[in-house]
C-alpha cells in the first residue's frame, strides 16, 4: 500500500536523522539516491516517481516533497564549507508521534541504506544507484551487460567503475535475501 505524504515525510526525516546521528553529510544527492534504494531494493512503499538521468535516478517529485518538508519545518538545511546538509527540523517530534508505526516498520531498511550509503561522494552514489536501476529493470542480465548499460547512459564513468557498482548491488541483494 502506498504511503501518505505524512508517512513519506516520516521516512525521509528518519533517514536525515540517522545520517546526522552518525555525523554523516546528508545532502540532496544522498537523499535522492537513498530514497531510490529504499524504494527499489528494500521495497519501502514510498512510490516517488523516479526517472533515470545521466547523473543517475532522480525524482523531481521527491525534490518538491523535500521542499515542502523544509517549508513545514520537518527538515532544515544547514550550510557547511561546501554545500549544505539536511538536519532534522522542529516538527520531527510531530512526525515521530503521529507515524510511529511507519517509522518502526521501516527503521531497519533506513539503517541499511544509511550504513551502506552515508559518507559516500556524489559520483559513487550516482554509480551505485544507476547500477540498482538497471538491476531492477533487468535482473537476469550479467554483471558485464548491466555495466555496459551504465556506461551507455553515463559515458563519463569507466567500465571498471560500472562493474564494481553492479557487483556491489548484487552483494546487497544477497545480504538482504539472507
Amino acid at each position: 500500500m502506498t504511503m501518505t505524504d505524512l508517512q513519506r515525510s516520516a521516512i525521509v526525516a528518519t533517514l536525515v536523522k540517522e545520517c546526522r546521528a552518525r555525523d554523516a553529510f546528508c545532502g540532496e544527492t544522498l537523499v535522492q539516491k537513498a530514497v531510490f534504494v529504499l524504494q527499489e531494493l528494500l521495497n519501502v512503499p514510498l512510490a516517488f516517481d523516479f526517472q533515470l538521468y545521466i547523473y543517475g535516478p532522480f525524482s523531481f517529485e521527491l525534490q518538491r516533497h523535500v521542499s515542502s518538508m523544509m517549508a513545514d519545518d520537518m527538515i532544515a538545511s544547514r550550510p557547511l564549507e561546501y554545500g549544505s546538509t539536511f538536519e532534522p527540523g522542529e516538527q520531527v517530534a510531530y512526525l515521530e508521534k503521529h507515524t510511529a508505526e511507519t517509522i518502526a516498520a521501516h527503521r531497519a531498511a533506513v539503517e541499511f541504506v544509511v550504513q551502506h550509503l552515508a559518507g559516500r561522494g556524489v559520483k559513487q552514489l550516482e554509480r551505485v544507484a544507476t547500477a540498482l536501476y538497471f538491476t531492477v529493470a533487468s535482473a537476469d542480465l550479467s554483471v558485464d551487460e548491466r555495466a555496459a548499460q551504465i556506461c551507455e547512459v553515463k559515458p563519463h564513468i569507466t567500465s571498471e567503475e560500472a562493474r564494481k557498482a553492479v557487483e556491489e548491488v548484487d552483494r546487497w541483494r544477497k545480504e538482504l535475501a539472507a
Binding site: G27, Q51, Y55, S67, S68, M70, A71, Q91, V122, K123
Partner: protein, 439 residues
C-alpha cells in the same frame, strides 16, 4: 533589382528589453498561427482583476524569453568566458545551430498553454499532463514542422521541443530523461533552469512592470553578464553558475521570486478568482480539446465570451462561478497558513477547511494549498582567485533560504461573518485534533 532590400534582422519594441531582435527565420515562426494565438492568452490569468495593469499576454513574454535566451547563450559560450575545466563546447558552426535551437525553444516554450495559462490545466488535461505536453504536440504539427523545415539551417522540431520543456517532462511523456546529455542539460537550463532560467527572468521583470509591483526587479544586465558554465565542486558536473561579481544580482533574483510569489502570484483574491475560473472552465468545457486544431481554436476570448453569457443565464453550465467572476462576488479569505498554527498542526489549512465544510457545507468553502515553488538551489561561483565555490557557501541568502508554502481557506462572502465568529471559537479545538475530522 528590388527597391527595398529584404531585412535579415528585425527589431520589435518591448517595454522590458527595449528591443527584441529577430532574424527572418524567427519572423516566420512569430507569424505562425500557434504563436499568434499567444496574443490572446493572458500571462497572469485573471490577475488583472486585482492588479489592473497586468493585462499582458504570453506573446510578448515569449518574445522576451527568446531575446534573453540569445543574450545568455552568447555570454556563456563566448571564448573569453569559457572556464578551462569545462571541455564541452562544440565548434563554431555547431554553436551557431545551437543558438538557433535555444532561441526557438525559448520562443515556443509556452505554445501549449490553455486559455488563462495555468488556471485549469490540471483539471482539464488528461492523465496528469501539463501544457508542456501540448507544446510538443504543436511543435510536431505539420504547420510547425514546415516552418522549421524552411529555415536555414533547419532545426529538428523534437530537439527544439526537448530543450523547451526540459528533461522531467520530456522523459515522462516523449522519450527518456537520458536523452539529455551534459550539453543538452545546459541548453535547456538556459530556458527552464531553476536558478537562472530566462523564462523566470523575463516573467519576473515583465509581471512586475505590468502589475506595478516593484519587488520583481533586479539587475538582470549584471546577472547575465556574469553567467558562466562552471563545474560544481560538490556535484562534479557542469552547470550554469556566475562570477563572484554577479552574486548580488543573483541574490536579488532569488528574493524577487520569493516576493513576487507572496505579493502577486499567490495574492488571496487572485487565488479566489483562479478557483472560480477553473470551476467555470470545467463546468463549461468538461474536457479540453487536446488535438492541435482544437487547442489552437481555444483562447481567453472564447472563455470570456462564454463566461459573460453564462453569468446572465442561471441554466447555463458554469453559471455560478461565472457570476462570481463577472460580478465580483468571489469567495473571501477566512484563514491563511501561518507559522504559529503550523507548529500546532502541519496540516492546519486542511483541518480548518474540513471543519468549515462540515459546519457550513461543501459549497460554501474552498481551500487551496500551494506547495513551495522554489527549490533550495545551489550553483557554482567563480571566485576572484580562480577557485570555484558554491552559492550556499558564498551567500547567506542562499545558505539560509527556506522554501515557503502558501495556503488559504476561502468562503462564500455571504457567510463570511458567521464563519469568522465560529472559527474564532473553534480554531484551537480543530488544530489540536480534539475535533474528529475525516481527512
Amino acid at each position: 533589382m528590388p527597391d527595398v532590400v529584404a531585412k535579415h534582422q528585425h527589431e520589435i519594441r518591448d517595454p522590458i528589453h527595449n528591443f527584441v531582435r529577430v532574424t527572418a527565420d524567427e519572423v516566420a515562426a512569430i507569424n505562425s498561427r500557434p504563436f499568434q494565438r499567444l496574443r490572446n492568452i493572458h500571462q497572469l490569468a485573471l490577475t488583472y482583476l486585482v492588479y489592473p495593469g497586468s493585462c499582458h499576454r504570453r506573446f510578448e513574454h515569449s518574445l522576451g524569453v527568446m531575446e534573453l535566451a540569445g543574450r545568455v547563450f552568447d555570454v556563456i559560450t563566448h571564448e573569453r568566458n569559457r572556464h578551462p575545466d569545462v571541455d564541452l563546447f562544440p565548434d563554431s558552426e555547431t554553436l551557431t545551430a545551437w543558438r538557433k535551437v535555444v532561441r526557438l525553444a525559448a520562443l515556443f516554450h509556452d505554445l501549449g498553454h490553455l486559455p488563462f495559462s495555468h488556471a485549469a490545466e490540471e483539471q482539464l488535461l488528461p492523465d496528469g499532463k501539463h501544457h508542456e505536453w501540448l507544446t510538443v504536440e504543436v511543435l510536431r504539427s505539420d504547420e510547425m514542422r514546415q516552418i522549421l523545415k524552411d529555415m536555414m539551417p533547419s532545426p529538428d522540431p523534437d530537439l527544439v521541443a526537448k530543450i523547451a520543456i526540459g528533461p522531467e517532462k520530456w522523459g515522462k511523456w516523449f522519450g527518456k530523461a537520458t536523452d539529455f546529455r551534459e550539453w543538452d542539460l545546459l541548453m535547456t537550463d538556459i530556458v527552464t533552469g531553476d536558478a537562472f532560467g530566462v523564462d523566470r527572468i523575463d516573467y519576473l521583470l515583465r509581471d512586475s512592470h505590468h502589475a506595478g509591483v516593484a519587488y520583481g526587479r533586479f539587475d538582470h544586465y549584471r546577472l547575465i553578464d556574469t553567467l558562466r558554465i562552471l563545474r560544481h565542486p560538490v556535484l562534479e558536473r557542469p552547470m550554469i553558475g556566475i562570477e563572484k561579481g554577479g552574486i548580488h544580482a543573483a541574490e536579488a533574483l532569488q528574493l524577487a521570486r520569493q516576493f513576487m510569489f507572496l505579493q502577486l502570484y499567490y495574492h488571496h483574491v487572485r487565488i479566489a478568482y483562479d478557483i472560480h475560473l477553473s470551476e467555470f472552465m470545467v463546468q463549461w468545457l468538461k474536457r479540453y480539446p487536446t488535438d492541435v486544431e482544437g487547442h489552437l481554436r481555444m483562447t481567453d476570448n472564447e472563455v470570456l465570451s462564454a463566461m459573460a453569457t453564462a453569468a446572465m443565464d442561471k441554466a447555463a453550465p458554469g453559471h455560478e462561478p461565472a457570476r462570481r467572476i463577472m460580478q465580483r462576488g468571489h469567495f473571501r479569505r477566512i484563514y491563511e497558513r501561518n507559522a504559529l498554527d503550523q507548529r500546532i498542526h502541519p496540516n492546519a489549512v486542511g483541518r480548518v477547511a474540513a471543519a468549515l465544510k462540515v459546519h457550513f457545507g461543501q459549497s460554501a468553502v474552498r481551500e487551496r494549498m500551494i506547495p513551495p515553488k522554489q527549490q533550495n538551489i545551489d550553483f557554482p561561483i567563480l571566485l576572484d582567485t580562480g577557485d570555484i565555490s558554491t552559492s550556499r557557501s558564498e551567500s547567506t541568502i542562499y545558505a539560509d533560504f527556506k522554501p515557503a508554502a502558501v495556503g488559504f481557506v476561502l468562503v462564500d462572502p455571504e457567510k463570511r461573518k458567521d464563519v469568522r465568529a465560529w472559527l474564532t471559537t473553534n480554531k484551537q479545538t480543530i488544530l489540536s485534533e480534539q475535533m474528529e475530522l475525516d481527512l
